[in-house]
Symmetry: C2
Subunit: 324 residues, 2 copies
Amino acid sequence: MPSLKPKGRVACIGTGVIGGGWAAHFLARGYEVIAWDPGADAEAALRRLIELAWPALEELGLDAAASPTRVSFAASLEEAVEAVDFVQESGPERLDLKQRLLAKLAAATAADVVIGSSTSGFSMTEMARLAGDASRLVVGHPFNPPYLIPLVEVVGGERSAPWAVDRACAFYEAAGKSVIRMERELPGFIGNRLQDAVWREALHMVAAGEATVEQIDQAIMDGPGLRWALMGPCLTFHLAGGEGGMAHMLDHFGPSLKEPWTRLEAPELTPALRDAMVEGCEREAAGRSIGDLVRERDRGLIAILKARQALAPDAAPGVEAVQD
Amino acid sequence: MPSLKPKGRVACIGTGVIGGGWAAHFLARGYEVIAWDPGADAEAALRRLIELAWPALEELGLDAAASPTRVSFAASLEEAVEAVDFVQESGPERLDLKQRLLAKLAAATAADVVIGSSTSGFSMTEMARLAGDASRLVVGHPFNPPYLIPLVEVVGGERSAPWAVDRACAFYEAAGKSVIRMERELPGFIGNRLQDAVWREALHMVAAGEATVEQIDQAIMDGPGLRWALMGPCLTFHLAGGEGGMAHMLDHFGPSLKEPWTRLEAPELTPALRDAMVEGCEREAAGRSIGDLVRERDRGLIAILKARQALAPDAAPGVEAVQD
């Protein structure tokens, strides 16, 4: 893989909520940012966004080289990407626009510069269709706001070079993101697939009069969602199996998979699926016993409950539980 | 509704992980607990569970009357419920056992004592089948561990009296829980329906080789799950609509509901469903502007990221984002 300067210069192409959020993140992590957006007043809006985000970024801890002033606004796309180490594309979410923008970016950048697209749904195979050199085009999908939510999902298209996917992962990791490198293109990537399953079940429940919007939000926030900032759904269920972990959970509660507890049909619990779940949890646990994991989760829950209590003593339901 | 002593005496029938967790919660909130469980060594196990939970409960803040010693173990079910204000039933999750246990409890309690069942899936209509007087039997479904996760879902069966459902809600609220009162029986209640939608999509993705267990957990923890301890999925999407909120979100992104982003089919976005979602979010926002909500969310995210950082500087993926 070609070498990558640890704190170099990044182009942010498109500076709306997502692109501007990326710019704020890169600045906080010590990078220099060259921005470009054809919108009227885009520069002023970007500077406002960075100014608003900066106190949060300071509180979380800045890189030694970080400064909100290390951003400049280029007069053209070509000028913006002329001498950068990485390009983050956050244009409007329209396939034809993305195709033209990415083709231009591929043509305007040096042969070792990787271009990550913030698209939330298109595949790079589709988006790269008009690009002459598509080898350096990859998806780098963030969650909003990119300077607070760590996740970025990285995946190449059919014509992306493996070294470019590697390099995008290394770049995002060096920039402090939590990177998932996907081995294949999948509509909605991983995070949105999971998020959309909840969202669709919620819509069905409201449509059928089974629950209100408020009940759904309360159920997530004061129930399973409270745990998910600490531990994903798989490791959470690993703990539900007691000392036997995920293996016990699937072997004993597997039959309840067929209960009508959501509108989504469960898959067949084949031995291969069972083993994949068990082995995945064991890798994640990395030697920690169920007891260790329970203690970690509980310490995390206490920290989150206390943080919620400090933030909004009256507002959030369930906070009564820790107030009296 | 008959009067309810603010800090009275609660019977915990069944003292495994859930029933014992309830006992720890009630003790921390200043109640006296009378426990009963037919298992060998049940009393010693309960005392151990309370002892292990107590430091966490102290850290979250105890009621003035709270003491880990205000628990006694009864010699029989009848003795346990003889002079209590509320009964929490947490027996094994088997329908025939629940039916017999609840019938006994209904017969052994005074006519103003409500019995809440911790069942995670059965309806009270089914469970109350053998009870002579089923009017005081209601579901009070907690999440594990009951002394840390605030949610309890309350719903009656066909023969439950409305006053008993009211009283269970008032009791749990006084005991510091976040209560959802459901108007109708629904398999899996609300929290498990939503949780199971994620779980099933996760199982499908692993079965199809689309994502690993670790990627799924990382996607939730460092992505959407990080927000859900603060704000449920509906209010989260209210913010995704910008100043137009949920109305803008549904009117503009509604068509993407049909994208194949999860295996769960989306419902038809009828005008009635659209309005229910919009009005629900407006009630939840309770006058707070999108800007207010964004600021609240971001303060919460910073608090959670800092709490995670303090808890596990190296372990959790994504924590790099706040360390450098």
